[in-house]
């Protein structure tokens, strides 16, 4: 009989006790989290909460004042260049070369990653821009630029993907396409950290979400766990009663809840059935004492 002595694989991203201040203003304080390969961690918080500062420290743009950052088992910023070769970043600002075509932008960044014989067509195809490959980026719409940003983040088939508001400014159809792309990258094995204002995005896309406010992580958990922990386990059923509407709230934890729901649903005049699950924003407000807007 043999026993496996392999240690548990280290997380792709491991952040411990990180702090960063812009002069006297503390932007991030004692932030710790880890992200294993194949997981999507959503950073949820209002403007100025510390999301982008955290991303900047992960990309090597900022050096933490305290704490440690390990990415793929290497120290950031100590092994910055080695890590960056395996990192894909989608910035909040659309920092593309406007006088160059979409294809030229991708080829240029491929050269910076040291990728030889790079052809941009497959990536442009993935983000739905193959028809605009040879158009200058100055002629792209805001949404098209965002999709090109996403394509640029995938040039080096990254092991770690850092996405700052990746669907910001996109129409719903394009946003769905980008979310599918992100999910595909996680399924491929990339560890993904994304920041967002969008609760729906955080809810549907993230395996776990981290609430961040005033530079501090308030909690990290799966969306389902957070909703279970903070929402009400009940069903609200509305039925038509003559000219009026009857509303029935059935707690799921009580005895006979199943029978009561079955009776209500089989009754005539059924209009709507809703769970009383809390939204992520409700839970964020509960933690932070403020909403996500602003």
């Amino acid at each position: 009989m043999t026993t496996s002595s392999n240690p548990a694989p280290s997380p792709a991203i491991d952040v411990a006790g990180v702090r960063f201040a812009y002069d006297d203003t503390v932007a991030v304080d004692d932030v710790s989290f880890s992200v294993p390969s194949g997981e999507i961690l959503g950073f949820l918080g209002p403007n100025g909460a510390g999301k982008s500062t955290t991303i900047k420290m992960l990309t090597g743009q900022l050096n933490p004042d305290a704490g440690t950052i390990e990415i793929l088992g290497m120290n950031m910023p100590g092994q910055r260049e080695t890590i960056q070769a395996r990192l894909g970043v989608c910035f909040e600002e659309k920092n593309l070369y406007l006088s160059m075509t979409g294809g030229e932008n991708l080829v240029f960044f491929a050269k910076l990653f040291g990728i030889r014989d790079f052809t941009p067509e497959p990536l442009m195809e993935r983000v739905g821009l193959s028809a605009r490959l040879d158009d200058r980026v100055s002629e792209y719409s805001k949404g098209m630029r965002q999709r090109l940003m996403m394509a640029r983040a995938l040039i080096n088939t990254p092991d770690v993907l850092l996405l700052d508001e990746p669907t910001n400014g996109l129409d719903p159809v394009s946003a769905i396409g980008i979310r599918d792309l992100i999910r595909g990258e996680a399924d491929r094995g990339a560890a993904v950290v994304l920041t967002t204002h969008d609760m729906h995005e955080a809810d549907t896309l993230s395996d776990r979400v981290a609430f961040i406010n005033q530079g501090t992580i308030l909690t990290i958990d799966t969306p389902d766990n957070l909703k279970l922990a903070h929402g009400q386990r009940s069903v609200r059923i509305r039925t038509r009663d003559g000219d009026g509407v009857d509303e029935l709230v059935i707690p799921l934890d009580g005895a006979g809840a199943g029978d009561r729901i079955k009776d209500a649903v089989s009754a005539e005049g059924l209009m709507t059935i809703h769970t009383e699950e809390a939204t992520l924003e409700d839970i964020f407000v509960e933690y932070a004492g403020r909403g996500l807007a602003g």
């Binding site: 990309t59 090597g60 743009q61 260049e81 080695t82 960056q84 070769a85 990192l87 970043v89 910035f91 600002e93 920092n95 593309l96 070369y97 406007l98 006088s99 160059m100 030229e104 240029f108 960044f109 050269k111 910076l112 990653f113 040291g114 640029r152």
Partner: protein
């Protein structure tokens, strides 16, 4: 690997530059316009002072000095005083002033009288020319009267600096450093604009999220800036014949000049907020840097403080080589001064740009 990344950034910059219609237009315009201006400028200096003389008395050579160009002094003979006056007023025949001898000049002289000779001087004539005229009157009068001057002192001239007598620097030669420096300045603006756009659109942040190091980025900008400025100024130099004398020295001077302006281009690009802001910051550097070149147009007019300007060594070295044909050893002090300023400006530019990028 670092080299290929630097090459990629330079290639990208070159592509952006070539697609910017404004930069391409300005670059071509500067080349064509400066070359045209240069070749239209006179390439020789006429050092002869021409003076009109009304000779109603004699039709002979006035004192033997009417031969044009003799000792830098030539006389034009006019039949009457009225004709002479009109010629002076209209600046005809290149004369700067006139000497009107009275019709009875010979008779009065022969009778031992003192005749009055009228000097016709246009407004604005420099006083030294007026003194020259008064001396010329005596010379011509002695020549006509056939009497030797009463005093004949021995004179010995000591020339301070390069003796340019008979070999004055032409306007074309004087303009040469100015034209070359103007081209370097234009490319300073082009580089600063490209850097400003990179900073403002934060594309540099995307570059630095790849394995490119900040030192690679700075090296790429430096090489591109120096290459851009040097290639254009060398091309212009070839078109205007700047390499006719000691071409290697001229090339080294222009190379150091390109390093100097690239440093200032990096500084201007770091502070420029938009096109107009970058233009304004660039002008703040360009105007003082042009002063030594203006000084070269008017030799002896520059105050001492001009020597502390970074382009002073550049202008001095260029004039010394292209106009005076000086050797390496003779231009060494100017070259060392230029090299010191070039390295200082480049280091300052790289440092400021690095700090600017770190704040993004």
């Amino acid at each position: 690997m670092t080299g290929s990344r630097i090459a990629a950034i330079i290639g990208k910059d070159l592509r952006e530059f070539s697609r910017n219609r404004f930069f391409v237009f300005i670059t071509l315009l500067v080349l064509v316009a400066y070359v045209a201006v240069f070749w239209f400028l006179p390439d020789s200096v006429d050092e002869t002072v021409r003076i009109g003389v009304s000779n109603t008395v004699l039709n002979t050579d006035v004192g033997g000095v009417t031969e044009s160009g003799t000792a830098g002094f030539a006389l034009e003979i006019y039949a009457s005083e009225e004709e002479l006056q009109t010629a002076v007023e209209e600046g005809r025949d290149g004369i700067v002033a006139g000497i009107a001898f009275p019709p009875d000049f010979l008779a009065s002289t022969a009778a031992g009288e003192t005749p009055t000779v009228r000097l016709l001087i246009p407004a604005g004539l420099p006083p030294e020319i007026q003194l020259l005229l008064e001396g010329a009157v005596s010379e011509i009068a002695f020549g006509i009267a056939g009497v030797a001057p009463p005093v004949d002192p021995i004179t010995k001239a000591v020339v301070l600096g390069t003796d340019r007598a008979g070999n004055q620097i032409s306007l074309r030669e004087q303009m040469l450093p100015m034209i070359l420096i103007m081209v370097l300045m234009v490319e300073t603006f082009a580089l600063s604009s490209l850097i400003a756009v990179e900073v403002q659109q934060r594309t540099v942040v995307a570059i630095l999220a790849t394995p490119v190091r900040i030192v690679d980025f700075l090296a790429a900008k430096g090489i591109f800036g120096v290459g851009l400025a040097l290639s254009e100024v060398v091309l212009l130099g070839l078109l205007i014949g700047a390499f006719a004398v000691n071409a290697p020295a001229v090339f080294v001077i222009l190379l150091l000049g390109a390093v100097l302006v690239t440093g200032f281009g990096m500084i201007a690009g770091s502070y420029g907020r938009d096109f107009m802001g970058t233009l304004l910051v660039s002008m703040l550097f360009m105007i003082p840097l042009m002063i030594p070149a203006f000084g070269a147009l008017f030799p002896g007019s520059s105050p001492t403080w001009v020597k502390v300007l970074p382009t002073y060594g550049l202008v001095e070295a260029l004039i010394d080589v292209t106009a005076d044909g000086e050797s390496w050893s003779q231009i060494a002090p100017s070259l060392l001064l230029l090299a010191a300023w070039g390295l200082a400006a480049f280091a300052a530019g790289a440092f400021i740009l690095k700090r600017r990028v770190a704040t993004l």
